[in-house]
Symmetry: C2
Subunit: 429 residues, 2 copies
């Protein structure tokens, strides 16, 4: 069907909650590696999609999926090797003393379960998240997603802390005490939460603060925050859907970059190359406590096909040394972005790590007034016209987001930089 017909039939069948990216929605039909093709045969460089972490349609992942789907697909109430092998592969990589995996299908499910467990184990009901956070779409995780609903609707048990945004927040990069000052704000919010009658069950942290950035936090802030929540009887939940799985180029998990040891670590998007697979992982003492009262069974979670796919993704990361590629290409990409920052006054800040970078776009460098959502949508469309797909994030939707599949090459980085350069020149003209 042609594009206009597709748009009309889509609107008719799926309804108005479904949104499209870009002024002119993309109709994609094929993907391979870091490339995508639309229905007219035009090729695009993908600088946005992290779900296909090892590249679009990776043959090793597709083969594992097909072989297992043609052989057996049941669930975890029968024994099967694949889920055990996947769990063992992950436990070797997981930070600190985390040694137990529960497999779910989406990041929402993993985060929802994490909070259920933290509340049970701590015996406390409060949860701390960041301003403009995103942690999922279930009833509970939507409440934890302060970017998704009006502040007036926040539940009493929710504490909301300032993200450690060293460019745009109240304390900035030139302040050596910034970490301690952000920590002090968090302490005050924990106090307010307790005054409302809620001690914290957990703090849930996206360790790259995706919906604010990406951000790189002061180390002392993060260590102080974990200690403070634990002192009050709560657990530390690292939501590594965005930050983990080699995205940062330094370690498998952002927790290890910062040297923190979360009590619970969750992951989702990048684990299955598009297949719905996610993880709630924790220590044995925590899950043993929880299991005294609750069982957990997820029909599709960790089924033989999901587990085979999960294993294949890890194998590709290892076989193709993607962590190292992220580090090398990421360093190269960063240098190029900082060079663009010199030449384009619309770029207020460059922040990120590995293959996750954000350009905080400003109308004015002095006031740091963000570009409007409409301007950002226009900029994104100009970059797409250059054949490169990017995204946006940030509290005001003002951050141009680059978060490509992990096999992103130096040539890909050069192409992305050239496209952004050209689009910015067009935008400024």
């Amino acid at each position: 069907m042609n594009k206009q017909e597709l748009i009309a039939r889509r609107a008719k069948t799926l309804g108005p909650t479904y949104q499209n990216f870009f002024d002119e929605p993309l109709h994609l039909v094929r993907g391979a590696g870091t490339a995508l093709w639309d229905a007219t045969g035009r090729e695009y460089l993908d600088c946005y999609n992290n779900v296909v972490s090892v590249g679009h349609c990776h043959p090793h992942v597709v083969e594992a999926l097909c072989n297992q789907a043609a052989t057996l697909n049941t669930h975890t109430r029968y024994l099967h090797e694949a889920i055990v092998e996947l769990g063992e592969m992950l436990v070797k990589k997981l930070p600190g003393d985390i040694d137990t995996c529960i497999f779910t299908c989406t990041g929402s499910e993993a985060n929802d379960l994490a909070v259920q467990i933290a509340r049970h184990v701590s015996g406390q009901q409060g949860v701390i998240v960041t301003e403009s956070s995103y942690h999922g779409v279930s009833h509970l995780t939507r409440q934890l997603s302060t970017d998704s609903y009006p502040p007036a609707n926040r539940p009493d048990w929710l504490g909301v802390i300032e993200p450690p945004n060293l460019y745009r927040g109240p304390y900035r990069r030139d302040d050596p005490e910034a970490g301690q000052k952000y920590l002090e704000l968090a302490r005050q919010e924990l106090d307010r939460l307790e005054q409302r009658g809620y001690k914290p069950a957990a703090v849930m942290i996206d360790l790259v603060w995706d919906s604010n950035g990406p951000l790189v936090a002061p180390r002392d802030y993060l260590h102080g925050l974990c200690a403070e929540v634990r002192r009050r009887g709560g657990l530390v939940i690292a939501d590594e859907v965005q930050a983990g799985y080699c995205r940062s180029g330094q370690n498998w998990w952002a927790s290890d970059n910062y040297g923190i040891e979360p009590d619970i670590l969750t992951c989702g998007k990048p684990m299955g190359g598009g297949h719905p697979l996610s993880l709630m992982s924790t220590r044995r003492d925590i899950i043993t406590d929880y299991s005294q009262q609750y069982h957990y069974f997820n029909t599709f979670g960790g089924n033989p096909v999901s587990a085979a796919v999960g294993k294949a993704v890890i194998e590709v990361i290892e076989n193709e040394a993607l962590l190292r590629n992220v580090d090398l290409t990421g360093t190269y990409l960063e240098a190029g972005l900082r060079e663009l920052e010199q030449r384009h006054r619309l770029i207020g800040d460059v922040q990120g790590c590995g293959l996750f970078w954000g350009l905080d776009m400003v109308a004015d460098r002095e006031s740091r007034e963000p570009l409007s959502e409409q301007q950002m949508r226009h900029l994104g469309s100009l970059i797409v016209e250059q054949g490169v797909i990017t995204g946006t994030s940030g509290r005001y939707g003002q951050v141009l987001k680059l978060r490509p599949p992990l096999p992103f090459s130096k040539a890909d980085a050069e192409r992305a930089l050239a496209a952004i350069d050209a689009a910015l020149s067009q935008f400024e003209a």
Copy 2:
């Protein structure tokens, strides 16, 4: 790895929330149609698994999965035909005026979203479910699953009504007023809910009351319940994860069997042949109202691969005339089960429809004292020894559950009946 090693490594990596079926857990390695094979090469007849609704590893479904996974797998913020085509195929089948599909990954996600929407649209917070219900494992849907946690922990906004169990409930098959009497109980619970300050946002009904049965309800009860909830401003949510997708052999949806028109219909397990795919469907006026305030984006939900798989499953149901097969084989199976009931006094009742049957197992037909969970586990294991896989459900775990893949044949039914016959004789001996 051998079975004992697998059990040990599984326990070490996955922890104690993971349970196995049967005294001697099955280690399955291959499936095709209604057959499963374990690691020793032994073949079993599958009388339990509804997720693989069109049979294990159906070649048409596997082919659709592999072709799409090798071509493109992104998400719903780009245009793609498959999700639109799947939505259109479903809308043609969905009951009443339901015309809009939102795709999610699990039944929990679909039910969780359904209640979020019902609360928003009704402006009311109460929810009515059945005693011993199961609707999911997210924080919200677990609260709706009264079989999953102690009654003392039920939230104030939850109303819990008696399932219309005509064998084991307070009003029985010989009472022509049973439907109205169950309805009166529901009215009283709605009154109590309102007295606690909660008008109903919705009643959520599993139309086969799986975790109680399966049950077949009096038609007047169900119509009266829907009318009563609507009169108080609430919506009717049909959870058709268990009852729908041709399971009953009469219509695609159990809603149509009873002639009710739900405001929201959810489905999950049988939609993707094992692939995590689920559905929240509703009328345009409802989703339009909701979308005034909320967007909904589910990373994996309705992605090109999930949609291709969903389409393939429907195509198989149509091409192989599985609805008719369910009706024919189901009728044959029912006759055999009623014949077994004549000969085995342990069978207190035979209830169900299509290819979903429950044998309510009793120690004594007069008192209807249910077999214990341990006895049921033993009986299930005896049936497995006969090469047939069944399950259990019921408020006391006392129902032997038969819910095979839809291509179940008369020969399969004969084999299942013979195995149950033999196991019961052994059990009684």
